[in-house]
Symmetry: C2
Subunit: 247 residues, 2 copies
Amino acid sequence: MAGTNSDRLASMNTAVTAADVARTIEHTLLRPEATAEQVDQLCRETLELGFHGACVNPCYVRRAAELLGRCVSPAGRAPVVVCPVGFPLGANLAATKADEARRAIDDGAREFDMVAPIGALIAGDRDLASRDILAVAEVVHSALPGGVLKVILETAVLTEAQIILACRCAAEGEADFVKTSTGFHPAGGATVGHVRLLHRYASPIKVKASGGIRTAATALAMLEAGAARIGTSSGAAIVAELAGGAR
Amino acid sequence: MAGTNSDRLASMNTAVTAADVARTIEHTLLRPEATAEQVDQLCRETLELGFHGACVNPCYVRRAAELLGRCVSPAGRAPVVVCPVGFPLGANLAATKADEARRAIDDGAREFDMVAPIGALIAGDRDLASRDILAVAEVVHSALPGGVLKVILETAVLTEAQIILACRCAAEGEADFVKTSTGFHPAGGATVGHVRLLHRYASPIKVKASGGIRTAATALAMLEAGAARIGTSSGAAIVAELAGGAR
């Protein structure tokens, strides 16, 4: 298994190392029963393993930002705090999502994973969906130079046509990323097929794959399919697997 | 099965009819992929079947309030709109929850099902949990005479000691109800044992049972255990089952 991953790493166009993969990972802890102590542990791992950032719920953003802001990871940069917005249903008012993003900016978050209004996407209401995304984008981009907005589409419950519509809405809504899944929907998480579809229709908007990514093989497959970021709670295991295979 | 339910109805202390059970039901549609059209259907059923109210996500509260506000159900009263707050993780900032409730009041909601800060309950942080609840209670009770605040505890992930602590926090937070479950957590929904526990420790605060209640037998068992309200997306089937048994 480790040999296979090593082969896959070698076969990718660029010379990808375990550290390269780590830099794409957003180390994620969003379970509602997560405690402050577990958030601290997540932040320590984020620093030690050189992840791009730590993704924690709004009530823990200030705590994570204080922990991560003090340090520089082995990758030579401070990891960012990623905050979900309107998570995981996306069925809040746009104004509530915008407020939640504003408060997370004040607390130290630098990237924002908002959930799209999924019912509107399914109903084909392009206007409503685009405006919902734009309401959050305006907060993120005006209040925070370099702030990054990702839009979670919950691709497992959308048809291909709805996913393509969602990519248009993400562009009209001035998002920086589209993201496959919340990881909370029983219909499932990211698939390679959906990542390819997003990469094709959302470009130049980037793609974050998330939901059910638990092995190095899956993470590499997502990157090969066009993902620029991986959201996972299994980042430590994935990097360990890759480092083992590369030795 | 219908005979059994009829027997159970007859055996309850008070003379409970199918209409009585309907009046305890909050007809619920919270799936993120729910469309406006499905919300309209939910409201029609709420009116026709004499449910206590319709529970819809914040983005649909105004629509549901406009539909339900125009009519009076066969039960002789207008059903209320119930709005989830900080749903379903409860891991938002208290200020965001309070804002979400404030906006839902403006849109016409009359009852509010907020999710408690579950991580704080697990960590035993009574102060933080009570203040979180109180922040929403102050909005609901000051801006809306007769407004009802329910606190969802997600009992399936709590120990008995944590549930008892949560009941104290609900009292300190001036909630009107404690509610078992969001219906979204993989650990499961309401159990008769948890409803009994809440009834015992939260009283005089009332109990709403929710999550996985799909049959008349389960609904009756929850009422017998002390629930004053039932949250379910299977209300139509439950009432049909009871009416069939009572004929």
